[in-house]
């Protein structure tokens, strides 16, 4: 009992750990739900590209004078715009999705570096390491509220359009013939991916956020036989990894983003070993 208190209760007695856990669980649920569709559509690289676009958006916010927390309100529309631009480039040209993503990935990130360099000399210094690797344990009450709100909205949206989005993911043409608005749903998927990635960057960072979207869904896909099972397994893997990774990071005194992703990775390789033949 005493050991349990040391492992769980003591960390939870601290406000910053409770906020980190809340943000991690909210983000984990939304990104796992979203990840099922992203992975099925082969858009895993898009999540990574949007994370780098978020860097550009946050840097633009800082250039415009926003604080580190408020810059997210610039990054949100910026990243959604990048997501929809990637979709347009894929639709209107013969370029593949990976090429379209690669172009916006590089341009947005470079723009971010430029924006940071253009800031006034007396502007407050920016913790680029926190942007790249996240700061889950430093989540402010405001950032927690934004993360929870965005995650709840995305989860509700996906629960509402999930069956139609799944049909469009299985076969866009057959879905279209059944009256499903395939293009609108694809735009919605990319826009919501952008939203989740932006709030994810604030918690687990640019470098690791796409893993939050991709790994739970990939793990679940190895084990699940139906889409419903895959959704449940993806959310379970994400929540379990968040909890284990967060408490692990607390006790090891290392960055939680890394321990959460490593736990996700361990579950993925376990699923790989257990997958049905």
């Amino acid at each position: 009992m005493g050991e349990l208190a040391d492992l769980v209760v003591l960390p939870l007695a601290q406000g910053f750990v409770r906020r980190a856990l809340g943000a991690g669980l909210a983000l984990g649920t939304a990104s796992a739900l979203l990840g099922v569709f992203v992975v099925q559509r082969g858009l895993g690289l898009v999540a990574d590209g949007l994370a780098h676009a978020t860097f550009g958006g946050l840097a633009l916010g800082l250039l415009l004078g926003a604080t580190s927390d408020r810059a997210i309100w610039i990054a949100l529309p910026f990243t959604v715009a990048v997501a929809l631009s990637i979709q347009q480039l894929r639709r209107r040209t013969t370029l593949g999705g990976d090429v379209a993503t690669g172009v916006f990935f590089a341009v947005s990130f470079a723009a971010g570096v430029l924006f940071l360099g253009l800031r006034a000399p007396h502007a407050a210094p920016v913790n680029v390491e926190a942007l790249l690797f996240g700061s889950l344990l430093a989540v402010s009450p405001e950032a927690l509220a934004v993360t929870t709100l965005v995650s709840a909205l995305v989860a509700a949206l996906l629960l509402g359009v999930g069956p139609r989005l799944a049909y469009a993911t299985f076969d866009p043409e057959l879905a279209r013939l059944s009256g499903v608005r395939v293009l609108a749903l694809e735009s919605l998927l990319l826009a919501t991916t952008a939203l989740v990635v932006v709030v994810g960057v604030k918690t687990v960072g640019v470098v690791l956020v796409s893993a939050f979207v991709v790994i739970p869904a990939a793990t679940a896909q190895l084990l699940g036989r139906t889409l419903g099972t895959i959704v449940v397994l993806a959310v379970a893997a994400s929540l379990l990894s968040t909890i284990l990774g967060l408490f692990g990071s607390y006790h090891l005194n290392v960055a939680p983003g890394a321990t959460i992703i490593l736990t996700l990775g361990a579950l993925f390789f376990l699923a790989l070993a257990l997958r049905r033949r």
Binding site: Q40, R41, G162, P163, R164, A166, Y167, T169, F170, D171, P172, E173, L174, A175, R176, L177, S178, G179, V180, Q221, G224, R225, T226, L227, G228, T229, I230, V231
Partner: protein, 249 residues
Amino acid sequence: MSLALAARDVVVELGGKRILDGVSFEVGRGEFAALCGPNGGGKTTFLRAALGLVPLAQGRIEVLGSRPGSARAGVGYLPQAKAFSASFPARAVDVIVAARRGSWPFRVSAAERERTHASLARVGGERLIDSELRGLSGGELQRVFLARALIADPALLLLDEPTAGLDERGRAEFLELLESIAVRSDLAAVLVTHNAAAVRRLADRALYLDGSVRAWGAPEEVLDREWDRVGAFSGRDHETPADARCEDA
């Protein structure tokens, strides 16, 4: 005779190229029409235009009295190329129920399962109900997609080269299956095919399409008229005319 499908002066252009040029013909309710012609002749494009997937540059298509894409419930479609995601966890029952619901079934009700079973039984595929699509053979996949096309009791069936890619036995079985469906029900069908045997066995009328309508009438007449000129018909899908002559003989 009321019409299942009517095309009037249909022109379709894709990528700046005219694919269909002034195509006009009609298919009555309960009639089985075969759409034949060389590769690139516009057969599949016509089906896609009738489904509302391809815009018309000129002309008009009426499907069950409505514009293309409007009479979804009344039209069953068996695509030639199965473009579904191979990694998607899809069972036959899911695919068939999705066609009826218009959304993917995370849970299938007992009534939906029963109806799916009946539709699969109609095509001799009831044992496939819980099979994953990625594990099915070409013939089994065709049966599942035919059951999918039939699930809503359509008045018009659009079949795009249903025997392409099947071996000889699979082709014979599938033609027998289509024949039984055509005989037993009063549904109209448009069958895109390169298979002369299919045209002879199934079609009430045949249309030879090579950008525009070259021939339209009784299957034997169309086959005899176009056979030597182009050699587009064959007993086997996508084979050389020389092989086809042997096969068809």
